[in-house]
């Protein structure tokens, strides 16, 4: 860990958005699985996900980035066509 000389001054963090390095996947008990076939690309899961863990691709398709997903299940509930299912994470 950094010494006092190496820390940025004034309680600043100078790398915007470096929280992507923080492991939230570990928080997850359930994991969303998105069925691209069922998906109508409505985007609701994307706009409702509290984490920004759902990625909107260039082709307007959506997928889950599991490194960023905490497994809350909001996406599943947002999906009118039930394209998302929550699956229990297993330890070990």
């Amino acid at each position: 860990m950094k010494s006092w000389k190496e820390l940025p001054i004034g309680a600043m963090i100078i790398e915007p958005g470096n929280s992507i390095e923080y492991n939230v996947a570990q928080w997850r008990v359930f994991r969303p699985v998105l069925d691209k076939n069922k998906c109508t690309k409505c985007g609701l899961c994307w706009i409702f996900c509290p984490e920004g863990a759902i990625v909107r691709n260039e082709d307007e398709s959506y997928e889950v980035n599991l490194s960023f997903c905490k497994g809350c299940g909001i996406c599943q509930r947002s999906c009118n066509v039930k394209a998302i299912t929550m699956i229990k994470e297993e330890g070990l």
């Binding site: 570990q26 928080w27 997850r28 008990v29 994470e89 297993e90 330890g91 070990l92």
Partner: protein
């Protein structure tokens, strides 16, 4: 002095578990400390709690760096290697998992004894919700005999009202029964 580290998630009541144990110890006339690794606890986020147990007054107020016992309330936490960190040589690990204890050997290389129980299943059976903090106590006691199970019963009666105390104690008892224990000599 016995030092226990508890691993759970925000919202699972891991601090309560550490406290129930401490109260039981105190009720048996000994001394205990229970506390959490303090920080902004968020639902879902891994959290730590601690219990210290001693026959005499406990003066030590530092954090616990090298626990004698590690208790894991949620097996998915074992995905991260943090759970085994610092466990003393010949320490004990107690984990909520349906797996058998041997599977955990390389997660707790220092453990001389590993106990497992499917606390989630038991909690659902006995409480109707997957709140594993009381069930795991049964496994811990089974593996360590730190306190008498009846003492836990009394603490639960003080802590919870009416039928909830009973249900929780049923979970403790059930877990106590179903705990699998493995020591370096083999499954007990």
């Amino acid at each position: 002095m016995l030092e226990i580290r508890w691993h759970g998630r925000g919202g699972q009541g891991v601090v309560t578990a550490a406290e129930i144990l401490a109260t039981a110890v105190v009720n048996e006339g000994k001394y205990a400390q229970a506390f959490a690794a303090f920080g902004p606890e968020r639902r879902g986020a891994p959290v730590l709690a601690f219990t210290r147990i001693n026959d005499n007054e406990i003066l030590l107020r530092t954090q616990i760096y090298e626990p004698d016992i590690v208790v894991v309330l949620d097996k998915s936490l074992c995905n991260d290697n943090g759970v085994g960190r610092g466990l003393k040589k010949n320490g004990i690990a107690v984990v909520n998992t349906s797996s058998s204890p041997e599977v955990l050997l390389n997660i707790f290389p220092n453990a001389s004894k590993i106990a497992t129980v499917d606390a989630t299943r038991i909690a659902i059976e006995k409480l109707g919700v997957p709140v594993t903090n009381t069930a795991i106590l049964g496994a811990l006691i089974r593996a360590t005999r730190i306190v008498k199970i009846e003492t836990i019963e009394n603490v639960l009666k003080e802590k919870f009202k009416g039928v909830l105390a009973e249900k929780n104690f049923n979970a403790v008892k059930e877990a106590y029964e179903r705990t699998l224990i493995f020591d370096r000599g083999g499954l007990l």
